[in-house]
Symmetry: C2
Subunit: 342 residues, 2 copies
């Protein structure tokens, strides 16, 4: 496969450009990726100087402006024409890069993607998806907050796009698609879920029916669709709960000397468990439905998370994610479910 | 305070009547509770024979029928006039018991409560609530599944009833009430949340605004309100995730001998952590808004969970939960928020 350049928003994230540059160096060195670091040339150059980078496929694309984490996304993207996130998207638009990874202001990344790349033909609403570590693998949940209110045809497209991502970027064959509900039976669910169920059943997707909250960590489905309000609650609850459970355990383990000794002996196991549960292993949240590969990292991303985000972006590009979604939507449009969804 | 009889649905739950009777014996012995065991007299008597019960305030109220876990709730309750769950509710209705605890078919418990006890005057829709262990205490979430679709005035009543429970049964002063949303700002949320926010702000409740999924385990609020679809997803995700995290940790801890030794040394700490995170410590899900104290236990409840459920039922009765909700609703009806809510 021909190498593709991945555009990295070098200024995006709480610890940019230090961790973004370190992550890019690691991705180039360890994975052989070709990366365009987009942002303030002097700052990036200063960070790059800390590493041995001769022979690595890294180049800088200068952009003088930065959209800060606290800025109003759409407004900032519109006004800051020379921002790193806009310049990164433009590289994809011009065909000079295959995809974008950014750990910056997620609203701004979405706004820049829509503004510069636009939607894939036929997509009603792009979805932001999260990939969770679950038993025996990963599960993608979409939408996790881009669309607070949804219609049944939105959820159907989220399912199609999510399945495309799991198949093309993560190599899952015939991803199992579940509809998040308050019960497994077909009759369960709120009005949105009940209207979406028959649509999903008519698609060519591997639809396994309703799934419940408890099924998510068990890995019952590879793709779980829901409205962005519910998905956002799910995402943040999962983050908060994992932190709470581990901190409760830690508090108890440090309460008596014997437990502390035990915990010290078991430290490698704790580290392995933490790594298996770590979002940073997976590499970011894909923005599905825009006309280009765009992945959004956590603002708190460290260099390891940036490296993995760049890797996932490359995998989605190599897997022809956008073309797969485009073809899937075309095929869907010719079916009864597609016709119903207008 | 005058002792009150608590009615226990002795036939409700996966392991009834063995664990229900054992739980009742423990509650009577350890807490001095007075309990009416409702169900098949011969079966209950056989279980009671396993314990020393002289001096304990336990009596049997015979009911010949049982609503099974898999039965259609409303239909079964209507047809089985001599079912343990109906007979238990009737004890409350006649003033012979202060409240009911059941670990049986939760739909049937709700149906029986509505059918026999009815709603408190002014309650539009009763809510099923769950009490979660969180950092530094507990948080009640309502609704967790009784009402899949909700209106703003439903959520307002859930808030009032949930706060009454946390105050009267768990002794939390001026419970902080949060509205579950996809962001903290007042402008966040789906249509339901955005319409509920101003209503809650007009009440006398200690409303702290929107809370996110991650805030829940952190104990930011004592009461979190949401529609029953979202609440059900939250409840089941929390259960599934806790199980997944602990099983992942366990798998890693048993992968090498040193970790295994460490885990063995730290076993008391693990037990303490598990106990702090255990739903069975808390004692069941209150059904709020029916004209009587009704708590529903997990079908998988063990004797310890039954004992704690009986204890919480007693605390809610002693705390005058129903009267508090009734007075709260009356006071609310005289406010602008109450008037708006019709």
């Amino acid at each position: 496969m021909e190498a593709t350049v991945i555009a990295l928003d070098a200024m995006g994230g709480d610890h940019a450009p230090a961790v973004t540059v370190e992550g890019a160096v690691r991705a180039a060195r360890e994975l052989g990726l070709e990366i365009a670091l987009v942002g303030r040339e002097d700052e990036i150059r200063r960070e790059l100087a800390k590493y041995k980078i001769s022979g690595l496929k890294l180049r800088i694309v200068h952009a003088s402006e930065v959209v800060e984490m606290a800025e109003h996304p759409a407004q900032a993207v519109r006004q800051k024409k020379d921002s790193s996130i806009r310049r990164a998207m433009e590289l994809v638009k011009r065909g000079e890069a295959g995809g974008v990874f950014s750990a910056g202001n997620s609203g701004a990344v979405m706004a820049a993607a829509l503004f510069v790349l636009g939607r894939i033909e036929g997509v009603h609403r792009p979805a932001l998806a999260a990939v969770f570590p679950v038993r025996n693998g990963h599960t993608l949940v979409a939408d996790i907050g881009a669309n607070t209110e949804c219609e049944p045809h939105n959820l159907m497209q989220f399912a199609l796009m999510g399945a495309a991502y799991m198949e093309r970027a993560l190599g899952v064959r015939r991803p199992r698609v579940g509809l998040l509900s308050n019960g497994e039976e077909e009759t369960k669910g709120n009005a949105l879920v009940q209207a979406t169920y028959p649509l999903l059943r008519q698609t060519a997707l591997n639809f396994i029916g309703n799934v419940e909250g408890k099924d998510l960590p068990m890995g019952i489905a590879d793709v779980v669709v829901c409205d962005g309000f519910t998905g956002n609650v799910v995402l943040k609850l999962a983050e908060g709960l994992a932190e709470f459970l581990l901190s409760t355990l830690k508090a108890e383990l440090t309460r008596d000397p014997l437990s502390l000794l035990g915990a010290a002996l078991a430290l490698p196991a704790f580290r392995r468990a933490r790594r298996r549960l770590d979002y940073a292993e997976i590499g970011g949240a894909p923005l599905l439905g825009v006309d280009g590969v765009v992945l959004i990292g956590h603002g708190r991303s460290n260099a390891w998370a940036i490296r993995n985000g760049l890797r996932m972006t490359q995998l989605a590009v190599d897997g022809r994610l956008v073309a797969t979604i485009r073809e899937g939507l075309r095929a869907l449009a010719g079916t009864p479910a597609g016709a119903q969804a207008g």
